[in-house]
């Protein structure tokens, strides 16, 4: 999975908007920081009910009296509308990664990269096409103590094997989905060139696999948010605990003082000069008694809560601070890619040898490869070696 969020800079926005309007068939006359745009009459868009309008590239250059213009800046309303509209426009696309697109630029496996040999030549022979989807997953991470955090991850999953193909994601994001570098339209892509079909269930399975993998891709960030949310919960609980302790103290003090006053009232009752005084003192005593009983009851509850370590409150606070991670697949690209075999001609000290491996365009070497000599699995840690023109690996040579 790859993080594919792109900073909303002015230049990225302008590149995007120019291309978007062009694709809609619009004519744009760029005049400094203002664009005059004319849309074809058959095109209807949500962001504008007019077919001719002006776009200002900064807030200042818009003539305020003129209401026919839009402002294209990173936080403008128009930008938001435009992006929202485009983001929902064509959520499913398709393209084919073929040998002809790579210009002979193949991905060397780690067991060659880490070795002493050099690749003199590589020849790919396609055997058959495979299908994968590159799914774009929006992930929202939410907790009460932090700003909501949003991620966009891209994951490519082989529809059949459910393997992840990070190399394919990389090619797609860099070559086809970068806002600034225009995509090379000489490349044969489109909906009609492969005729591939995928069963809906299979597709749904692959998308879900992609969603799960996407969450894995931001695990570190989630862990960090979780740590800080837990700290926030902790300190909220600690504050609560201290407040309760204080209340317990306050209650105790108040009860003590009521006891004293009650005692004094008892002697007032005994030593009353008149019946009226006696009645008043008795009434007061009753009132204070009730007050004291209420406080004692409350204190009892507070003490019970304390004895249980404020477990319920703790749970409540922790629950409130819990983290919600939600994934939403926003778009996917159906990718057909060629699988076959690659033949590397490798050289060391003037001697060459040939090495074959299963290979897929965009994905690189797809399966495990073993040493021809000793059958140990090749890897970055156990790269190939070429001694006296004989191929082997680090383990056997």
């Amino acid at each position: 999975m790859t993080d594919v969020t792109h900073a909303v800079t002015q230049s990225a926005l302008e590149a995007f908007t120019r291309e978007y309007l062009n694709d809609l068939g619009a004519a744009i006359r760029e005049n400094g920081s203002r664009w005059e745009v004319r849309l074809p009459s058959h095109v209807n868009v949500d962001f504008s009910d007019r077919h001719e309008f002006e776009i200002a590239l900064d807030g200042e250059s818009r003539d305020e009296k003129e209401e026919s213009g839009y402002v294209l800046t990173p936080e403008s309303e128009f930008t938001q509308q435009l992006l929202d509209e485009a983001a929902a426009m064509a959520t499913v696309g398709q393209l084919a990664l073929t040998d002809s697109m790579t210009d002979g630029d193949y991905r060397d496996p780690p067991w060659i990269v880490e070795s002493d040999v050099e690749v003199e030549d590589a020849v790919f022979s396609p055997y058959y096409d495979r299908t994968a989807i590159c799914v774009f997953v929006r992930i929202d991470v939410e907790t009460v103590s932090e700003y909501q955090t949003q991620f966009l991850e891209a994951v490519t999953i082989d529809v059949e094997s459910k393997d992840q193909l990070p190399g394919v994601t990389e090619i797609l994001v860099e070559e086809f989905f970068s806002p600034k570098s225009g995509w090379r339209d000489d490349i044969p892509v489109g909906s009609d060139q492969s005729g591939v079909t995928v069963a809906p269930e299979e597709l749904a399975d692959a998308i879900v696999t992609g969603q799960e993998a996407a969450v894995g891709g931001i695990q570190e960030e989630i862990d960090e948010i979780r740590q800080s949310a837990s700290r926030a919960a902790d300190s909220e609980f600690e504050e609560y605990r201290q407040l309760q302790e204080q209340r317990i103290n306050d209650h105790q003090t108040e009860i003590d003082s009521l006891s004293n006053r009650l005692q004094k009232l008892s002697s007032d009752v005994d030593g009353a000069d008149s019946q009226q005084q006696r009645v008043e003192a008795l009434e007061k005593r009753q009132e204070l008694k009730a007050e004291k009983e209420d406080l004692e009851e409350e204190l009892e509850e507070l003490l019970q809560e304390k004895e249980q370590g404020y477990a319920q409150k703790r749970q409540e606070i922790y629950r409130r601070h819990s983290i919600e991670v939600n994934t939403k697949p926003t778009a996917f690209t159906l990718v057909t890619y060629e699988r076959g075999e690659i033949e590397f001609t490798v050289a060391d000290n003037g001697r060459t040898a040939v090495m074959r491996a299963p290979y897929a365009i965009g994905a690189g070497v797809t399966d495990e490869v073993h040493c021809e000599n000793c059958n140990t699995q090749l890897s970055a840690e156990n790269p190939i070696s070429l001694v006296a023109g004989r191929l082997g690996c680090q383990s056997c040579q």
Partner: protein
């Protein structure tokens, strides 16, 4: 649509739960079934998704790097920082009402600029009394390290890139040329209303300074007349109001001296000025209860006090060059005999040809004659009261002097109290540990004024001023350690003073007169800045009065007149406040509600 599928719970001890839900992919599968779009449109969709998920480039990106333990940012402060940076292109007049945290707003702005690396050189100009406070706050709260012109390491305005200086130092003949020779990235000016007058050196300095971004702070942009507003705004945005005459013609009703064409004025001011009002924010402080206790000194203490005061007076009249050390003695004698003793011994050791050797030695004898330290005994009363009524008996005792601190700690230890010491000699990790221990174990924390702003001490709500700084800002800072946003309980402030001493004068005649102990954050700095602007330093004033008075009656009268002066400044600043509130009442210059 929000159907949730597999729920994953990853519960671990002491960590909050994580709940992961995946939205169903049905919509996408349906889109696929109804036909795949042409690639160029699909590309636009993916790119739009990427941009929607990306951060707009006008976000406070450093926000997540602000340590919430050190500073709790309020919504109106974040909004102000954001608007000043992105809507006002980094030139703004921050004119919140008093006490809403304009320094925090600037801290946030500077942190963001630092994050974006647009702050190669920053100059902060403040009134002299506030420079060190600015320095401390920016470091503690935002991790921004500035050099202050009062630091030993300060080597001039061309030698550092992040400088806090008093505006008067910057405009002085010695520094003016170097200040003006630089192109500053950022200029911050606190209490900006002091440059309102276009005919002053201060105005001239700011007018000639070269800078890309500027943030001016004042709660009262208008001091005397509406032209003040024109002058300040014109420094930030020349031309926003046109010429001085145009401004007058269009916005000021000359007969009434009131503002006219208010809508237009508001529209223009809104491009450069932010003003948050207290009532619109959620700032709320708990009550503060002040308990000032003065005690009769013992005969021996009285004798010592008189001897020291007499010595200070006569020494000062002979050699005013010794002012600082004499002032120190006068402060120490009411703090503790231990503090005084230390300084006198040092004096005797350092200066062999001391003219006052005999007098100093007599003072030492008088120190020896003291058996019981009255204040210390009375402190026990307070600590005992606190222990009986408050959770874990937490109380902070502030003193200005390390020697006093040691003596108080020792006395408390001997009586079996849990104690903690905090002073400037600790490393920052140690300081953190001390505060943690105090939180956990309770008891008494005896601290010097090195306790810095950022420390989170809201868990304690009782403090004692064992002795009193002569600088009211320092008193306010002490109180501010516990009486801050986040304090949920009433705050109790105990002041201790010895009767018939300078302490009693400062406490009762000055501090209580201006209601110092009840001042909300920010009010005091306004009063003091006014006082400073009239060329007076508070500490000097107190000392001069003490040493010059010939009789007790004269001394009392002197302090009374100083109190009247202060009250006057206080009234004036309140009036100016009210006037500004009135002028801007119908203006919406704060953050949007939405």
């Amino acid at each position: 649509m929000h159907e949730n599928r597999p729920v994953v719970n990853m519960e671990e001890q002491d960590l909050v739960d994580i709940e992961v839900t995946h939205d169903d992919p049905d919509n996408l599968v349906d889109s696929y079934s109804s036909g795949i779009a042409d690639f160029p449109f699909h590309r636009q969709t993916v790119v739009a998704n990427r941009l929607l998920a990306g951060q707009p480039d006008t976000e406070l990106r450093s926000l997540s790097r602000v340590d919430e333990e050190e500073v709790k940012l309020l919504e109106h402060q974040v909004d102000a920082a954001h608007r000043a940076l992105f809507e006002m292109d980094g030139k703004a007049l921050l004119a919140d009402e008093v006490g809403l945290g304009k320094t925090i707003e600037v801290g946030m702005i500077l942190k963001e600029m630092h994050y974006r690396e647009t702050d190669d050189s920053v100059l902060i100009l403040t009134p002299a009394q506030l420079a060190k406070q600015w320095q401390g706050e920016l470091l503690e709260k935002f991790g921004l390290d500035f050099v202050c012109n009062y630091d030993d390491e300060f080597q001039g305005f061309d030698a550092h890139n992040y400088i806090i200086a008093s505006i008067d130092t910057a405009k002085s003949d010695r520094h003016r040329a170097t200040v003006l020779a630089r192109d500053w990235d950022v200029l911050v000016m606190d209490e900006a209303h002091y440059v309102k007058n276009e005919e002053t050196d201060r105005y001239d300095l700011i007018d000639k300074l070269t800078y890309d971004y500027a943030f001016f702070l004042t709660a009262t942009p208008i001091q005397n007349e509406l032209t003040d507003l024109y002058n300040i705004v014109s420094l930030l945005r020349p031309g926003l109001f046109g010429s001085r005459d145009t401004f007058h013609h269009y916005f000021v009703d000359n007969g009434q001296e009131t503002l006219v064409n208010r809508d237009e004025l508001q529209r223009r001011l809104g491009q450069v000025m932010i003003r948050n009002r207290r009532e619109e924010t959620d700032i709320d402080f708990t009550d503060r209860i002040i308990d000032t206790r003065t005690f009769e000194p013992s005969a021996a203490e009285k004798e010592l006090y008189e001897a020291v005061t007499e010595y200070v007076r006569s020494a000062y009249s002979q050699d005013s060059g010794q002012k600082l050390v004499l002032m120190l003695l006068q402060k120490e004698v009411v703090s503790s005999p231990a503090a005084l003793e230390q300084t006198i011994l040092k004096q005797l050791e350092e200066q062999n040809e001391l003219t006052h050797r005999d007098e100093l030695e007599t003072i030492l004898d008088k120190i020896d004659a003291i058996d019981t330290v009255t204040k210390q005994e009375r402190l026990f009363d307070i600590v005992e009261e606190v222990r009986e009524t408050v959770d874990m008996g937490r109380v902070i005792v502030f003193t200005q002097f390390r020697a006093t601190q040691r003596q108080v700690l020792q006395a408390l230890d001997e009586r079996g109290y849990t104690t903690h010491a905090f002073h400037g000699g600790h490393s920052s990790q140690e300081k953190e540990d001390i505060v943690d221990q105090f939180r956990e174990e309770g008891g008494v924390l005896v601290s010097t004024d090195a306790m810095n702003e950022g420390r989170n001490l809201q868990f304690c709500n009782i403090m004692v001023n064992y002795d009193l700084p002569w600088n009211p800002m320092k008193v306010e800072q002490r109180i501010g350690r516990i009486h801050r946003i986040g304090q949920k309980r009433k705050v109790y402030v105990f002041n201790m003073g010895l009767k018939g001493t300078i302490e009693e004068y400062v406490l009762e005649r000055l501090y209580h007169k201006i209601d110092l102990f009840q001042q909300t954050v920010g009010e005091l700095s306004t009063i003091l800045t006014r006082l400073e602007d009239s060329g007076k330093s508070f500490e000097d004033e107190i000392f001069e009065r003490l040493t010059n008075a010939d009789s007790e009656v004269e001394l009392e009268n002197d302090f009374d007149s100083m109190a009247i002066d202060l009250e006057e400044q206080q009234n004036l600043s309140q009036k100016v406040e009210e006037f500004n509130s009135g002028v801007f009442e119908s203006f919406d210059l704060g953050a949007d509600d939405d």
